[in-house]
């Protein structure tokens, strides 16, 4: 057999049917469901008198619009409350396991899946959310789908798919101190652009990727979609297996042995063909800050706001001009001179325990700058929250002046009450700096958890490599 990529292998193992035009019916091993993109899908099933094809391969959890304040007395916002109640009712009616807003296992769907051992290597995983690419960190083929496809998967446990192209991003070398997974992925997106991976599945490889923890790998795969790719992948290794071991839904005993034997075959063969390949050297990477309204608008913390007038292409120039205008920034301004209003630490990109430990290290014994109106930390799940509290991290955060919230998507997409007011500027560990993403006319700067933590203390961006 010709050498195959990791993507080729997982794809081949899930094809149920191939049409003469090349369209495939792909079997889906795991389906994660949340409250916002599923109501119409369940309604479609109901109208057509269909059942959920494989309820045991489906897991539902609320995350997008739940408040991150105390919710033990219910949800005040009537629209959110209705959407949450609808998911509860659908899960009950269709026999799907469901973690409600009071369940200790509840959290952001992409934090919950891996935590529960629902996400495993070699699987196909989908969810009505574009950051499903996160699960690719385990060597699973995972991508976001729309609501029509959610209904399709619920009804048939398959998806109609055309195979994507193979792209590889190799990150060589070792990361310098103060530079992490978030900086790697922001640098990649800056390099390839937001459409650079369109039509491709990206496999991340190289020494710097291998050196990342599972949390770091999830951060990298999470933002594949910001580079245009529906899915990102990292070949599983001993770190992956160690993470999975003992998770509630992970295999045990003989089945684990069988699984491990298979998982160890999940890598790109020597000589496998990639349609596109790029290389970065981790040793040269700085802490990165986004300056515009697209995740490709990135610059080193030591840099300045770029000048759109230097761009030759007229359309690009006008779009970057517009971005600067929206962001209220002037070309040439040093990034470290940008004052901030709010700090958001959390999201499916950076709401895991390792992220919170990093933040705690940065802020222990320090105080949030008085100019910061709100600095909030939203754990990715109830289990992350419990772990952080067991380690005493919450006490460190609160002592420093951070708000410590209940798990959910929160200010990453501002569906609940957590949002920016018009003109407010936020250092955010989330994944999108689109116009209005964190609130109407809000201004988002994407950064790593360490950078957001340091920015909270200083009230502006700082080069964390210079901190003692």
């Amino acid at each position: 057999m010709a050498p195959r990529t990791l993507y080729d292998k997982i794809w081949d193992d899930h094809v149920v049917d191939t049409q003469p035009d090349g369209t495939c019916l792909l079997y889906i091993d795991r389906h994660l469901v949340h409250e916002v993109t599923s109501p119409q899908a369940f309604e479609g099933l109901r109208v057509a008198h269909r059942k959920v094809h494989a309820p045991q391969k489906t897991l539902a959890v609320v995350d997008h619009n739940v408040p991150t304040t105390d919710r033990s007395h219910g949800i005040d916002d009537p629209e959110s409350a209705l959407q949450v109640a609808t998911l509860a009712r659908n899960a009950e009616e269709f026999g799907v396991e469901y973690y409600n807003e009071l369940d200790s296992r509840q959290g952001i769907v992409h934090v919950v899946g891996p935590e529960q051992g629902f996400t495993l290597p070699g699987m196909t995983i989908v969810c009505g959310d574009s950051h499903t690419s996160t699960h690719g960190a385990f060597g699973a083929l995972a991508h976001g789908i729309g609501t029509s496809e959610v209904e399709h998967v619920l009804a048939t446990q398959t998806l109609v798919q055309n195979k994507a192209k193979n792209m590889r991003v190799i990150v060589d070398g070792q990361l310098p101190e103060g530079v992490g997974a978030k900086d790697i992925i922001l640098a990649i997106i800056g390099e390839i652009g937001t459409a650079g991976g369109t039509g491709h599945v990206i496999e991340y490889a190289g020494e710097a990727i291998r050196s990342l923890s599972m949390e770091g790998r999830m951060t990298v795969c999470n933002m594949s979609i910001e580079g245009g790719a529906r899915a990102g992948l990292i070949a599983p290794d001993e770190k992956t297996f160690a993470y999975i071991l003992g998770k509630p839904k992970a295999p045990t005993g003989e089945q684990l042995e069988q699984a491990l034997a298979y998982w160890k075959t999940l890598f790109s063969d020597e000589g496998a063909h990639f349609d596109k390949e790029i290389r970065l050297d981790a040793a040269n990477l700085p802490p990165i800050v986004s300056w515009g309204t697209s995740p490709e608008d990135v610059v080193a913390v030591t840099g300045t706001v770029p000048d759109p007038e230097a761009i030759a292409d007229e359309n690009k120039r006008s779009s970057k001009r517009r971005a600067l205008d929206y962001m209220g920034l002037k070309p040439g301004t040093p990034i470290t001179d940008i004052p901030l209003d709010k700090i958001f630490i959390g999201s499916c990109t950076n709401g895991r325990i390792e992220d919170l430990r990093t933040v705690a290290t940065m802020v222990a014994g320090k105080t949030v700058a008085p100019s910061i109106k709100l600095a909030m930390i939203v754990p990715g799940s109830g289990l992350v929250k419990a772990q952080a509290e067991a380690e005493g991290l919450d006490a460190i955060f609160k002592a420093a002046g951070f708000e410590w919230r209940e798990p959910g998507c929160s200010m990453c997409l501002a569906m609940n009450a957590d949002r920016l007011d018009p003109g407010e500027r936020c250092a955010s560990t989330s994944n999108r700096n689109f116009e209005g993403r964190q609130g109407f006319k809000g201004r988002t700067h994407l950064v790593s958890p360490a950078m957001a933590a340091a920015a909270a203390i200083a009230g502006r961006f700082v080069d964390i490599r210079t901190l003692g």
């Binding site: 629209e79 496809e149 779009s319």
Partner: protein, 206 residues
């Protein structure tokens, strides 16, 4: 789903690149049931100011564009979030075709499932089409999916679309019905997989 074959309508020029799905419909509207329609949320934060008043001169509200069913934009239209609500907003507003040099993958897939045609044209053709409809707002544009052509005035340009998506649109096919014709193969596949890889079935812990 209604089949899409040919559409003749006014077109709106949206001269922006990277129109992401958060702009097409801000997340805060996605808790609303769709029964009342999502059309008013389309490009909401570009169309309306902080006080809810329309932004003067925004192209969707230009009376010369009344009844427009085609949107022409620049590259990477529909990038970002997988929210199908972005497509609902376009469809409920009345848009049946978006013409752009490139689309976000998930958006294009969602579009077809709602009978909305994502027509891919070259950068040059997008620019000339934008210029043409800017100059003559009331001239209808004709999109022919069978021939894969767009006609605006005396201009005729070709567009690309994935052949499978084209067939789905032309026939108005329901994906689930088509897939369920393979029900026996799906069941056989699941059985084989369960035998060969029993670990694939989720554990019952937790």
């Amino acid at each position: 789903m209604q089949p899409f074959t040919r559409l003749e309508a006014r077109a709106c020029p949206l001269g922006l690149a990277n129109v992401d799905t958060d702009q097409l419909i801000p997340a805060r509207f996605m808790s609303r049931p769709r029964t009342a329609g999502y059309g008013t949320f389309l490009l909401h934060d570009l169309r309306f100011g902080p006080d809810g008043a329309p932004v003067p001169g925004f192209v969707l509200d230009d009376p010369r564009r009344a009844g427009a069913r085609i949107l022409v934009a620049r590259r990477n239209f529909g990038t970002g979030s997988s929210r199908e609500a972005a497509v609902y907003a376009l469809v409920d507003y009345g848009i049946a075709c978006v013409i752009a040099p490139s689309f976000g993958d998930i958006f294009a897939s969602n579009a077809v499932k709602n009978g909305l045609l994502p027509a891919t044209v070259t950068e040059d053709d997008a620019e000339s089409l934008l210029a043409a409809i800017e100059a003559e707002p009331e001239t209808p544009v004709c999109v022919d999916l069978t021939a894969q052509t767009i006609a605006a005035g005396d201009r005729a340009i070709a567009f690309a679309i994935d052949p499978v998506r084209r067939l789905q649109l032309l026939n108005g096919w329901d994906d689930i019905d088509l897939t369920l014709r393979h029900a026996a193969e799906i069941a056989a596949f699941a059985r084989t997989r369960r035998t060969e890889a029993p670990w694939i079935v989720p554990g019952h812990g937790g």
